[in-house]
């Protein structure tokens, strides 16, 4: 084989394409409805909120941090949108307000991580509880419906004459922007540098705290946007919207080849992983497996996506060493 072909095959993204094809084949054997335009359209529109949240999360993990609070920010945004809409406020006011609250929530995460020096894992675990709690404080057990038709159409409908859901357009635009910023600009290079070696990045003149804070703000805003889209798609604002989304979002980032310790990963990989998980879940749904049980497969995928490469690296690193050292000291 040509060297470039071998290099292409050895890329993580190629594995993801193979996994995608494998799941499509598996899915079509499970149900005759699997391979159809309308099923792929449904499958895609089911994914978009998680996909939109996965993009900023990828940057945050590449920068060496994590944000577990995204699903709760989605819930808080949905609850706030419902609350303000029920007050009779117009949507053109509600939506920017909700996005601003998302940004503020992200800013709180960012400041606690960068200024107070707390680990993002604990901070966002705390805000995972806090934002979901605030969502239920705002809306209680109510569910707000009666949205204008153009709004629910945006969430649920396709672009006229096609099978492309509107939210896919939003996601595609965002994904292109993320690819450009991460892989083609100095901002992206700063993010990689911070994730590879925070101290070195700081000495190279990168304002690590500021970049990280912006990333958390971005994550908050896009999670709130995901909340708006989910509300439109379900035509219902509820405090528990998006509960459990953190699993799929984190899994798609790590399965997408982003290194959990930071410094490595591509947006293309993440986008592929989002669709791999989507196809897997859709296939299982058509096979009558409940969403909660599907999470067994996604959770296993999450663990494997981190354990797999580590184990392979350890095994291949252990092999030559065994020949050099004597077996007694090796045990």
């Amino acid at each position: 084989m040509r060297p470039w072909a071998i290099a292409l095959l050895r890329r993580w993204e190629s594995l993801l394409v193979l996994a995608f094809v494998a799941f499509v084949v598996l899915g079509s054997s499970l149900s005759p409805y699997f391979v159809s335009g309308s099923n792929f359209s449904d499958l895609t529109s089911n994914l978009m909120e998680k996909a939109i949240m996965a993009l900023p999360l990828a940057l945050i993990i590449i920068a060496g941090e994590i944000d577990l609070s995204v699903e709760s920010m989605l819930g808080l945004s949905s609850a706030l949108l419902g609350f303000t809409y029920a007050l009779g406020w117009p949507l053109w006011l509600d939506v920017p307000l909700v996005l601003a609250v998302g940004g503020a929530g992200g800013l709180l995460n960012g400041l606690l991580v960068t200024r107070a020096g707390l680990p993002s894992l604990v901070v966002t675990l705390g805000t995972l509880a806090l934002y979901r709690g605030l969502a239920s404080v705002v809306l209680g057990p109510r569910s707000i419906s009666g949205w204008p038709e153009w709004f629910t159409n945006f969430g649920f409908g396709d672009i006229p004459g096609t099978l492309i859901p509107w939210p896919l357009l939003v996601f595609a635009a965002l994904a292109v922007a993320f690819v450009f910023v991460l892989h083609r600009t100095w901002i992206g290079r700063q993010i990689y540098a911070i994730g590879k070696n925070k101290e070195a990045a700081r000495y190279a003149g990168i304002n690590v705290a500021r970049v990280k804070t912006y990333l958390f703000v971005l994550s908050g805003v896009l999670s709130a946007l995901a909340g708006v889209i989910l509300t439109a798609r379900f035509s219902s604002a509820r405090a528990d919207n998006g509960q459990g989304f953190v699993l799929d979002t984190v899994t798609s980032v790590l399965l997408g080849g982003v290194n959990i310790f930071g410094g490595e990963g591509t947006i293309v990989g993440v986008v592929l992983a989002i669709f791999v998980i989507g196809v897997l879940r859709n296939g299982l749904t058509l096979a009558d497996v409940s969403p909660d049980t599907q999470s067994v497969a996604v959770g296993a995928l999450l663990i494997l996506s981190v354990a797999g490469p580590t184990l392979v690296r350890r095994i291949s690193a252990a092999r030559p060493r065994r020949q050099l050292t004597n077996p007694v000291s090796n045990s």
């Binding site: 107070a116 901070v123 509880a129 790590l254 909660d292 999470s295 959770g299 354990a307």
Partner: protein, 346 residues
């Protein structure tokens, strides 16, 4: 900070480090006193607002609610001390609770048998976490986020929409929660015993000290010959066992179990642990502190109910409390570190 201590083993830095550890132990002690004070203030305020609150039966109710969470918090403390975290505890409690209840419902096993199987299941689930973390070296946060959903999914798979109700359960099993030892409910006694044994072992046994050593400086612990990964594996097994015990008692306490039992419990447990002064970076904190943290949170929860404040606040309070506790810890730590660095230089 910990890395710097190895890189530059100058005597002043070392003295500063030892001084820091001592001060932090002192701070942890003060923390326990602090929680007690906050607890007294909460009790005083609520008692004035609602005299109903200040009664033996209500305090017993609070402690009953705490007992299961406290047992899980003991296991979580063991894990957090080693600079790890177990997010799957809620799912372990739920899965064990359902399996135990189902075994009793179908009369597959008698009460002691079902309890033993439940505890063993907890150990097995904890060991699986431990393997992923200690052998496959997956960061605990990713591993247990995965198993949080894997174990909950298995729970749904086993339950299949069914539910175990009090009618299905033998009296001998339900009696555990309603019985009492010398006038004190058995659950409270059991939780107190587990916490005391764990507190003693962590404080006085060699393995206990080694767990602290791993948490305060993993690299140094490895250098002095502590089997780091094996002990981390062990900590997750202990955490699984504790969650298993809580799961076994769950059905007895609440009478009915469905596939959603104990979901979200991990956030309450982690809140209790960090409020109790267990350092989320590992290496310091006590089981007694974690249990006090659980009691404080349960008291606040009970007070909200009695004062007829919306219970929708509960989750938000848990979250705010986690943030407040870790931020306070970091501030105190930073303050003493600055003081010690100044004196170390002199």
């Amino acid at each position: 900070m910990s890395v710097r201590a190895i890189d530059s083993p100058t005597s002043s830095a070392l003295a500063g480090r030892i001084g820091l550890e001592r001060t932090l132990t002192l701070v942890a002690r003060l923390r326990e006193v602090g929680i007690l004070l906050v607890l007294l203030v909460v009790v005083a305020i609520v008692s004035i607002q609602a005299p109903l609150f200040f009664s033996v039966s209500n305090f017993e109710q609070i402690l009953l609610n705490v007992s299961l969470i406290a047992v899980v918090a003991v296991g979580q403390t063991t894990v957090v001390l080693t600079r790890n975290v177990d997010l799957s505890v809620g799912s372990v409690v739920g899965l064990v609770a359902f399996v135990t209840g189902d075994l009793l419902k179908e009369h597959t096993l008698d009460v002691p048998g079902a309890i033993a199987v439940g505890c063993l299941l907890g150990v097995g689930l904890g060991a699986f976490n431990g393997l992923i973390i200690a052998v496959a070296r997956v960061p605990a946060i990713v591993a247990t986020l995965g198993t949080l959903y894997v174990y909950r999914g298995l729970d749904f798979l086993v339950a299949g929409g069914k539910q175990v109700s009090a009618i299905d359960l033998p009296r001998g099993y339900l009696g555990i929660a309603s019985s009492s030892v010398l006038g004190v409910p058995t659950l409270i006694v059991a939780a107190a015993l587990i916490a005391l044994v764990a507190a003693y072992l962590l404080r006085n046994s060699g393995v206990g000290r080694e767990l602290y050593a791993i948490g305060s400086n993993p690299a140094a612990a490895e250098v002095i010959g502590i089997p780091t990964q094996r002990l981390i594996f062990g900590a997750f097994v202990v955490c699984g066992l504790c969650a298993g015990i809580a799961g076994v008692l769950w059905g007895s306490r609440f009478g009915s179990v469905n596939a959603l039992a104990a979901s979200g419990l991990e956030l309450q447990v982690i809140a209790a642990v960090v409020v109790g002064g267990v350092n989320i970076f590992g290496g310091s904190g006590t089981v007694v502190g974690a249990v006090l943290g659980a009691i404080l949170l349960a008291t606040i929860e009970n007070a909200l109910r009695i004062l007829h404040l919306s219970e929708f606040w509960l989750l938000a309070i848990d979250g705010a409390v986690i943030l407040l506790a870790v931020a306070t810890d970091a501030a105190i730590r930073g303050y003493f570190q600055r003081i010690l660095m100044r004196t170390g230089r002199r």
